[in-house]
């Protein structure tokens, strides 16, 4: 029996700063999380200055604009942000909307009709010759690019992973 600390799915524990600080096996570090967004989506390295990162649940990482002593016994701390502890890390729809505007890589821009179908949860077949994996899916709204959420691009298909509670049918303009 090892006495090594394990992930308690019931409390919010702060992510360790770096691998050297890691005590809980398999827990992502703050440095890895930031590096992943910078590498995958081209965000600036300082995009998350001032935020703290927490794990509650297996691999569910939360982003928090403030700080508290770890662990925190609460129902929610900040916003759900990223799924780790699986082969490919996956950003949440809400994180893509909130932080995806700064993305410069692996962003796919959809035409108006495609965007409506993606939001409704439909899988699409758009033109894309970039990486496979999780992409930030965007469209143009009010004169600028705006991220809708996250899509999984595999086998020349873009799967909508908009969660059921965020799916919606938007009417085309009159």
């Amino acid at each position: 029996m090892s006495d090594a600390p394990t992930n308690d799915g019931q409390v919010f524990d702060r992510l360790p700063a770096t691998a050297d600080d890691r005590e809980v096996a398999g827990r992502a570090t703050r440095a890895e999380v930031i590096e992943w967004w910078v590498d995958r989506f081209g965000l600036p390295a300082d995009a998350f200055d001032g935020y703290t990162f927490w794990e509650k649940g297996a691999g569910k990482v939360w982003i928090f604009a403030a700080d508290l002593p770890t662990p925190v016994d609460a129902e929610g701390v900040g916003m759900t942000f990223l799924r780790t502890r699986q082969e490919h890390w996956k950003p949440t729809t809400n994180a893509a909307q909130r932080f995806g505007r700064e993305a410069t890589r692996n962003v796919i821009d959809l035409a108006p009709d495609e965007a409506r179908r993606f939001l409704a949860g439909e899988d699409l077949d758009p033109a894309w010759d970039g990486d496979w994996g999780y992409l930030i899916v965007a469209h143009e709204l009010a004169g600028d690019r705006e991220p809708i959420g996250v899509g999984l691009y595999v086998h020349d298909e873009l799967r909508s992973v908009v969660p059921k509670g965020r799916r919606a049918s938007v009417s085309p303009p009159e």
Binding site: L68, P69, V72, G76, M79, A142, E146, S171
Partner: protein
């Protein structure tokens, strides 16, 4: 007698009051400044062919005269949130600053909580508490859609809210700068939105919920640092749930009422009701009747903690 007839002696124009209560309310949305500006929202609504009108008192509160707020791109992006016009008031009166420590004692489903987050620029610590776990999931859903990242969600009875889960020792929270108590109430002022609001109304319910309100407001004052601010609001007209609650707390806790600087028309709190007299300072509270601004009914008071 409908509950509204109880209050006809308090209003300036009973007929206009009755008529306003019978009219339905238009859909109203608040612009979520964490994700968008009022300009971009108006442009996006125009692109979608959705009619919108500004309110005359706040550029971030829009009426949608022919639409429901839900099925459009600005909503899908969390740029707007359906929120009754007058319910925008208490967070504006609390007026939190970025970096403040703020407690929303009765937070679910989160319209005012997310508005507080926006007023804070999504910075500082915002604690959204509710005793109802089911309603907390609506709060979390709304907060995430609107892109709020400074919110801690707790599930406690606000009457004996404990700071311990926030680490009251060491680097944790020992007191709040500002607290919003948007108390559970008999909801008389929401009749224009919920025509069945009176189905469950009874004087016993009014008295029982007033007891809860007193307990929550006392705890809110206790959990606020000296010099800090507490805003008390309800969406009901009953003095038992409004001025009587303030009177009770003024007598027992270290706090005083201050003027409410409101962009909406209202009248002062009442100092006398059915033979009871209240602390004269309850006049500083604001009563908003449906015929004053063509909104729902509301009550709002601002307290300063400490001498």
């Amino acid at each position: 007698m409908t509950p509204l007839e109880r209050y006809e002696s308090l209003v300036d124009d009973a007929e206009a009051f009755r008529a306003a209560c019978d009219r339905p309310l238009p859909a109203v949305v608040r612009v979520n400044t964490i994700k968008a500006t009022a300009d971009r929202v108006r442009t996006a609504l125009d692109e979608a062919g959705i009619a919108h009108e500004p309110t005359d008192w706040h550029p971030g509160v829009l009426r949608l005269p022919r639409d429901s707020p839900g099925r459009n791109w600005p909503h899908a992006h969390g740029w707007i949130h359906g929120q009754e016009e007058v319910s925008n008031l208490p967070a504006l009166v609390l007026d939190p600053d970025p970096g403040d420590r703020v407690w929303d004692a009765c937070a679910a489903p989160g319209s005012k909580t997310t508005q507080l987050a926006a007023l804070m620029g999504d910075r500082g610590l915002l604690v959204g508490n509710d005793n109802n776990l089911g309603r907390l999931s609506a709060l979390r859903h709304n907060a995430e859609r609107l892109g709020v990242t400074n919110l801690v969600v707790t599930n406690q009875d606000a009457r004996n809210f404990s700071l311990k889960p926030l680490g009251s020792q060491g680097a944790g929270v020992d007191a709040f700068d500002r607290v919003l108590v948007d108390a559970p109430c008999s909801c008389e002022g929401t009749i224009r939105k919920n025509p069945d609001a009176f189905d469950t109304w009874s004087l016993d319910h009014v008295r029982s919920v007033a007891g809860v309100q007193k307990g929550i407001l006392r705890r809110a004052v206790q959990a606020t640092r000296p010099g800090g601010t507490v805003v008390y609001s309800t969406c009901t007209f009953a003095p038992e749930e409004n001025e009587a609650v303030l009177d009770h707390v003024l007598e027992r806790e270290d706090c005083r009422l201050v003027d409410v600087d409101a962009p909406l028309d209202g009248v002062p709190g009442v100092t006398e009701w059915e033979g009871d007299r209240f602390d004269p300072s309850v006049e500083k509270a604001l009563r908003i009747y449906p015929h004053h601004n063509d909104t729902g009914g509301f009550f709002c008071a601002k307290l300063e903690v400490g001498s």
